[in-house]
Point group: D2
């Protein structure tokens, strides 16, 4: 079994196939890498991963914030089980799993430097409002939107709260080998939204 | 049951859901529409559809070339059955099914104005060579490439034969409703290659 | 100069380079073709093209609705001049230019079978409301959205009015030859929204 | 002026606007981030950046390989000047500029852990052959292909040399604010090719 030192040298960009995933949907490698980069994780960062799914993003974030702390919020028991197994596989010791449905549980956490939102279970407004209260002045919120509604609600809140924002849509196709030929396989596009406070603008 | 007159007013752009398709892969509506447009079908056009699959492209081509003739070449018995059923559903009478593996069968056909190549079963070079012999001077060949190899081989032959060519890659995402939310679903990208003779250039 | 009969055989899918365009932005060929297909134009169709720009869509629509009538609404004088020139070039005689800013001018028009909306100049809600009044029961409205706001406002009205809708995002890349090499050039993605009345659903 | 310690906490994912770029084409942020991730840079890595352009990738690689060394090969004097200025701005001290046209200059370099190829000036085969000789057994070569020919030639060499490869195409659109509206702007798609030796496969 590879130890934490091995995986520390592999981030960001651990291949999807390394993660235990069951039937839980997982952010794909290339999107995960861009998402992590938008978060500008530093070694001591305090990070939340809301709607953590398989924990693939939490794991990579834990390795990047190697002297910091990551909280993974997830309500689905099957997914929680996977995060536990992935945590063990990748030997990360700075990742805490909160088996709660956000925004519940957010208020007890220490304030955050980076907040990733991968899923919101229909509570996006409440989650974003609570996250904004917990976010450090220089902090960043990064959402992965696969629905129209996530983009819509986030842009609305962005305007209400006069936040600085950036939206990119990332579409990845992979060339897959099938016998002697290579087929292009399209993945679902993901819209990556980054939010910071006005004071954060340089 | 809707008659041919009804369907004549629906082309191009018959929704995918109208075609009987079984488990045979089908070119998606938006890609089919662009492919048909690149073919510049006119009412009396003589058309081949090589690797016709479900026959969705053949059907729309038959309706557009309403005074012309379409030959659908297909080797897969399951697909041939589907083309027959679709031919019946859409009431087209100018579509002939050739249950052969191209390039076999091509030589006996009358010369063509438009040739669509959706699948080549590993015989792309032979097929393209035979198609070029059968193609009328102002004719057009339009390929749908979902593999790297189809683009590679076609560009090679294009240079050998000094053909005029155009390549576009079309990536479609559909906003799908799931309960109260809308998710973006990515389809596989398709490269649409159009070939004409040099003399064809204006 | 090519006459109308020539161009009648070229639609849909007239190459972008055939249109006179000046500095006015133009819907690209592949997007125009999908847009036209979503409109399901028939020979006698009555069509509006709102925010007609260079008139490329109006021209192709006029040729497809060869026994029908197209109204092109456009407020920009430079664009109006281009539509006139394109109308002359393509020899279409069933295209009328309305030099007005929609929704102004819509009410006097006969009811429509197909309404294309390419630009709304900030009046999308008013335009859509008036268009819904003018639209025949089986009619179709097709919007080309290049902004987030067009999709947002259209989906809002869609829900208010309980319309049937479909949204696809089309991303096209073209392989362009530069000396001996071929570069992939990405075009801006366009979201194509099709609206019909509930009663229209089969 | 921000010092190296500041920038060390910003990688990967320094915004495009931070780099001095003149008229030299630059890999865009999201593509740069995925490219860096595919390289699996570790702190002591020895890295080449061939066809370094503005040096944006070289700079980020230098910060990620903070105890390693990066060589940026570039032949264009205007680009070399930019790399120098960017090197100064970002205060990196482990980036060496080689004003040569690859593969010239490669042989004198120490063997590499990671080789990025952003441009090849028509010498891709020679460059790849030399790179394979210089690459450490566990090393990785990552190419950014914007042309069809780069993918074609790389796949050919991959088969000859029985390398392990992965190809992804990344298409990014950015939502840009123009007054009160947000427009989707498409960037050119980039194909990111990662090569490793067979023995590297786990």
């Amino acid at each position: 079994m590879k130890n934490r030192d091995y995986w520390l040298r592999q981030v960001p960009g651990i291949p999807d196939t390394e993660f235990l995933r069951g039937k839980v949907p997982m952010t794909k490698e290339e999107v995960r890498v861009v998402t992590l980069a938008k978060g500008k994780i530093f070694p001591e960062a305090i990070i939340y991963d809301i709607g953590a799914g398989t924990g693939s993003l939490s794991i990579e974030a834990s390795l990047l914030a190697k002297d910091g702390q990551v909280w993974a919020l997830e309500r689905n028991p099957e997914a929680i089980e996977l995060i536990k197994k992935n945590k063990e596989k990748f030997q990360v010791n700075n990742l805490e799993i909160l088996a709660k449905e956000a925004p519940e549980g957010l208020r007890e956490l220490p304030s955050a430097d980076v907040i990733f939102i991968g899923g919101s279970g229909g509570h996006l407004r409440d989650i974003l409002m609570d996250c904004l209260e917990k976010l450090n002045p220089q902090g960043r919120i990064v959402l992965n939107a696969i629905t129209y509604e996530t983009l819509e609600q986030t842009l609305n809140i962005t305007q209400e709260k006069k936040l600085v924002y950036e939206v990119v849509s990332v579409g990845v196709s992979r060339l897959e080998r099938v016998k002697d030929i290579h087929m292009w396989k399209g993945l679902n596009p993901v819209q990556i939204i980054t939010l910071t406070r006005k004071s954060n603008k340089e």
